[in-house]
């Protein structure tokens, strides 16, 4: 508000000062706008049969959930429509959509033949009266309808925002049930929106903090199977797991893949001291990266693999540090009051998300990689463990409620701090890890 006013006044002064010649175009500068979801209309995709109509309705629902769920779009209810779309190839009546202030229009068609499902769509800029991008068709078996809907949403999202979508992605997490002191944890995986939950382990051992590989086909996690925390690696496709790192008398945890998927960073606790190691998955060779009496944990690679951000209490309280991927000197980057943990480098490389504890509250925040421009996005009794959406725009994390009936749940928030929302899971959930976009 204030900024707007000052700019207004400033701008006014500037403009007043600049005399304009007669035939010069009038020049103005717009430097304040509004930030609100873009209103769009998505009439049900035109079906070619009654069976297709059912898919069309389901697809419309998933599409709307994706787009409005991003916080960047707002669906105009169909009750407001002036005209309907009854043919995919008919000319669009832009005036009718302008009238209801739909700025984008999604039209589509769904056809079913046997178990083959084909979804086509086009995206229109209503006010410009032009198509954004070109028509796109997805074809597959009917079982894949949900992914097709996500793909349509991803295409719409990226054409309008200019950055990749994140809807056709999955999330590995820990499904939690039972009271706090008898919590049962199972490794699970689901679509980013909470659909299609599958369990990958039973609850006989504590499992913690799954981490997707960069290609989305493997998951690292920590399991107490065998009595001590050790890092396991699981092939998502085959649901096959094995112990990746184990050494008697030690505990290993907080694993994370390198960007090329060939190395695993992790913490090893031995004799009460926790340090960072990097292990080549193929050879099993580990390299020690830190050797300080302090706790070093929660490492995360930069997207180019050259640096590592991690948490250390070498200064007396847990803070964030960045060092070369090969170890060596580390530079502290967090300087606010409070304790910092679980840093995660964004896929774009520009930000680091973290957990912050300050004055008895927990926050999820982001900062630039040099520690500047810290911004806290959330606050609650206990928020922790951020993970980035594939496009670096959204952060999912664990929120645990207070007290004896405390429960863990997954939430997501836009990196602007807007659009905080719960992610639905069958039971409680914690430690989310977002996969890359599916291929």
């Amino acid at each position: 508000m204030m900024r707007f006013l000052t700019s207004l006044v400033l701008g006014a002064a500037l403009l007043a000062g600049a005399a304009q010649a007669q035939n010069q175009p009038l020049r103005i500068t717009i430097d304040e706008g509004i930030i609100e979801p873009l209103p769009y209309a998505a009439p049900n995709f035109v079906p070619d049969s009654p069976a297709a109509a059912e898919y069309a309705a389901e697809i419309a629902r998933v599409l709307a959930d994706d787009l409005t769920g991003s916080g960047l779009f707002r669906e105009i209810p169909s009750t407001a429509y002036i005209s309907q779309v009854t043919s995919f190839d008919a000319p669009v009546q832009f005036a009718d959509w302008k009238a209801i202030n739909a700025q984008a229009l999604i039209t589509g068609a769904v056809s079913v033949s046997g178990n083959r499902l084909t979804v086509r769509f086009r995206l229109w800029d209503v006010f410009a009266g032009a198509e954004l991008g070109s028509g796109l068709q997805f074809a597959g078996t009917t079982d894949g309808w949900r992914r097709m809907a996500h793909k349509v949403a991803d295409a719409v999202y990226s054409r309008i925002t200019g950055e990749g979508g994140y809807f056709d992605s999955r999330v590995a997490f820990v499904s939690e049930s039972g009271p706090k002191d008898q919590r049962r944890k199972r490794l699970a995986i689901m679509d980013y929106d909470g659909a299609n939950v599958q369990y990958l382990t039973d609850s006989s051992s504590i499992v913690l903090a799954p981490r997707f590989s960069p290609s989305g086909d493997r998951v690292l996690y920590t399991s107490y199977q065998g009595g001590f925390p050790r890092i396991h690696i699981l092939d998502v496709g085959q649901v096959q797991q094995r112990v990746l790192q184990s050494q008697d008398g030690t505990m290993s945890f907080a694993p994370r893949f390198s960007p090329d998927g060939q190395t695993v960073l992790f913490s090893l606790a031995q004799g009460g001291n926790t340090d960072l190691y990097a292990m080549n998955i193929a050879s099993g060779q580990s390299t020690r990266l830190t050797s300080a009496p302090s706790i070093e944990t929660a490492p995360s690679y930069s997207p180019d693999g050259s640096r590592i951000v991690f948490e250390s209490d070498r200064s007396g309280t847990p803070q964030l540090y960045v060092m070369s991927a090969s170890g060596g000197e580390a530079t502290r980057i967090s300087f606010g009051q409070g304790r910092y943990g679980t840093p995660v480098w964004s896929p774009r490389g520009d930000l680091i998300a973290f957990t912050k504890q300050s004055k008895g509250r927990f926050h999820i925040g982001v900062m630039r990689t040099d520690g500047s421009e810290e911004r806290l996005l959330t606050a609650s009794f206990l928020d922790e463990g951020p993970t980035w959406s594939p496009n670096g725009r959204v952060i999912m994390f664990t929120r645990e409620t207070q007290g004896a009936s405390g429960r863990a749940a997954l939430y997501s928030v836009d990196i602007s701090g807007r659009n905080l929302r719960p992610v639905r899971t069958p039971d409680g959930g914690s430690d989310p890890s977002w996969s890359p976009l599916q291929k």
Binding site: D181, L208, S267, A269, G272, T297, T317, Q357, L382
Partner: protein, 170 residues
Amino acid sequence: MNVLSKLTVIGVLLALTACTNPADLGDGNAVDLNGAGAGAGSGLVSDPTSPAYFNQAIGDRVLFSVDQSTLSAEAQATLGAQAQWLLTNTDYNATIEGHADEQGTREYNLALGARRANAAREYLISRGVAGSRLKTVSYGKERPIEICSDEACYSKNRRAVTVLTTDLTG
């Protein structure tokens, strides 16, 4: 509950077979004799050689202050008595579990629990218990015993618990 049934089985087994090979605790063979609390299947508190005596009369746990892993005088006294007991009852080994309260990230608390468990282990070793008899494990904040979100509970959750074990398979 699983642990309970295991415990009963173990109790019976213990009665039948004397423990052997206490030195070598393979993963998965360690048995939690303390878990069920008040002497279930592990002897009477009045019997100073029983795990029940260890757990209750001596005290199987020591507490820590926030973020700390240093042992208070009280904790040292408890651990001193634990060491005595272990020196006498050599059929038992121990796994020391380190725990943290829920304030703090999962990863940090795991590391912190490891520190606490190690502090207790080092103390027992300093009092003569063979290091080979003592394992450590950290549960971080995963296994609170008190579930309120107040210091009253937190203070009990910041603990290192000496869990007696025995190796059944030898």
